[in-house]
Amino acid sequence: MLLRVEKGSATPISRQLADQIAALFTAGKLKAGDRLPSVRELARELAVNQNTILRVYEKLASEGVVEMRQGQGTFVAELSRAGRRRAHCDKLADEFRSLVRQALSLGLSKRELQELLSSALAELDDEAVSPLTESERV
């Protein structure tokens, strides 16, 4: 499992790691039942406080991404369809939030943002209705 700690980032280290593990899972690089490194191993490898790694695993466990089994270690959880959907939704919601912040800082109004989203959705609808027009438009 390849993880990276970005120093001097505005994102706290536990968040960085939790996000990266969740992303590996979403991308299918971690599969249900896979065993994650022990807290001690990962702490050593990343040179990060064991308590921080423990917090990351506990956070992921509370979100249902991993399962901490007493005396055995931490494993990627078997997620139901609903759980998987929720994990994707959470991830998307995060990205939306950061996009919205970015847009607001650029001076866009909430109304303009809503319009952008609507037009993006409308474009998708058009593509879905007539997928062949894609080549015509290009």
Binding site: V5, K7, G8, S9, A10, T11, P12, I13, S14, R40, A43, R44, L46, A47, V48, N49, Q50, N51, T52, R101, L104, S105
Partner: protein, 302 residues
Amino acid sequence: MSAIEVHAVTKSFRKSRVLDGVSFRVEPGKTFAFLGRNGAGKTTLIKMLLGLLKRDDGSLKVLGLDPEVAPYELRDRVGYLAEDQTMYGWMRVDEIVRFIAPFYSRWDHDLALKYLREFELPLATKIKHLSKGQNVRLGLVLALAHRPELVILDDPALGLDPIMRKQFNRDLVTHLQGAGATVFYSSHLLYEVEPVADEVAILHRGRIVRQAHPETLRADVKQLVIEARMAPLVPRDLILDARPDGADVALTVTSAPRVIGMLAAEGITSRVVDLNLDDIFEAYVSGRQFEPTTPTPELAPV
């Protein structure tokens, strides 16, 4: 019992007051990072913790002992790595290990050899021929081989390159935190401290201006960008730093969630910027106050 308890400690050298009522405590098993600019008084306080300097006032307990009363008993139980540790350059690595050992009642020679191996230190090399990084690691071996309950390190990362600093952090996580030791170390490199510290304290102008878990600190201190005329709504004592930016002002505040809530209650939306630890440190030690009434002076042509 706390591993370290410092209460209202003051110290002056001639007329300059270096420590002005410093108070904090370090709980057993925690890694505590002591931060401050160069000259903030970190080394002065560390020397007091070891009984190498006398305080003017206040109280101080290390492992339940007053360092001024029982310095030798204390130093037998504490591992210490001095800033810019100078060792006898003409001694070889194995010689200094044998030289230091008799000073400690609980010296574990097998452990010393194990660390020397793990740290890949050449036994037959003279100390003056070691690299800076090897020097720090040798200092660590000497500080750790008597299995101290508490380890005090004075700016151990000073002069190490990024690779060695990461290796040092790894040593700290593996050999100290892994063994349950309490670690007190000073540094001025916040981003190096963040991955390993359970708690950070910022020493500034002779006082501890903030003590918190790094992630608590990040959640609490944020930069808010609001219209400058709204700035007086923010309590002054929560503002660490203020930077005017045209009609706006960027305020770095503590208790950020509360301030955001207060502004929201007034119908003011603020743009919230997450800060890294260096930004937060800078706000505490060199923040500028907001001057609401001073109009922007016209620059005279030069």
